[in-house]
Symmetry: C2
Subunit: 213 residues, 2 copies
Amino acid sequence: MKKTQATGSTRNEILEKALDLFSVNGYEATSMLQIADAVGIRKASLYSHFTSKQDILDNIINSVLTGYANHSMFSNANWDDPEYVKDKSHMDGEKASRIIQEQIQYILHDPHIAKGRKMLVIEQFRNSKIAHLQSKQNYENIMNYFIGMIHFLIRDNVLKEYDSLIMAAQLSSPITVWINLCDREPEREQEVMDLIHRHVLQFFEVYQKQSGL
Amino acid sequence: MKKTQATGSTRNEILEKALDLFSVNGYEATSMLQIADAVGIRKASLYSHFTSKQDILDNIINSVLTGYANHSMFSNANWDDPEYVKDKSHMDGEKASRIIQEQIQYILHDPHIAKGRKMLVIEQFRNSKIAHLQSKQNYENIMNYFIGMIHFLIRDNVLKEYDSLIMAAQLSSPITVWINLCDREPEREQEVMDLIHRHVLQFFEVYQKQSGL
DNA sequence: GTCTATAGACGGATAGAC
DNA sequence: GTCTATCCGTCTATAGAC
């Protein structure tokens, strides 16, 4: 049961280096030799830890899944929990922008999340399992987070009561597009962070409840 | 000069079938044998039309580029041209939604544009040339179209004068995200078209000039 | 321009010594 | 668990007949 205890670090290093390569070149374009070289072992030694190349990918997909679920604030937010929202009442655009920017910084720069996101983008058309995973991670999860936020802000009398699904899409989608832009061209991060700030402020301005006061 | 005249159709068929494969599996994961099989010729015959596999990709990238520039309404719109905007004055949400949905239908279902878009998504992290092309095609071009539209609508007294870059991002980004969703899961197209309709209507509602009348 | 045949490199995976 | 050596299939690309 504990046979592989000492090899855990090698095993994890293989997964990590493989994800490095998969997230740039994709699964098919990455060879076992490249992975072995990145880890610093011989190609054949990979087969002491995984039965096949596909086995490596399967384990990465699982770790992307659970890693995201455990660490992303998008997954763990609970806008019905008084403890979670206790410092979020009387939210304005500036405050929301700060909260959102903090989360963007996290998912942009957490190495595992960033690489997992890029790998799903590359592999999404090859099989429907990955396609659904990609939709769940980078669409449904984010939408649900923002739908929760919008509901909270409407309940808290901060925002006007429009179609909350559409409001969530309008608030989250520019951010999603700009995260993709940063994944492609990291040098544009400052431009993107500025755009996000202006976007959130303007969203609050047009949807705020007491617009005439 | 006209030597390859008669072989043009085979050459184009190679490009077309190669794009079919590249847009699903990616460049590296696609073999010359797969391309030859799809065309119905022997693998070696491909080299009568292209010097290498990379040469095929280069030609596809050029055709994606010029094809998009020539056919997409996003590239050819000119909101300063009286002829172009002559049927677009006094726009409301319904009218804008109709115009936008028509264009979405086109870029979703035009085979060349759809496959080109997917290929750029798959290949965007492998080299910076493709990354910039992807940003240009599927971000800057679309943003410029919507910035033009927003400017026109503000000039035409339809919309309030907010930061037009942010307005364009808020109008276009949900659509971009939903197009990606359709590329991944085509069965969700109806859901997406409904969301786009609701989104455009609500955008016009919150940004329209005479909100109090 | 397409074909068969093949070169030569590299792919994933296994056997067996240590 | 890592190594060397090797199997066998597939890859891109070329040579040369037709």
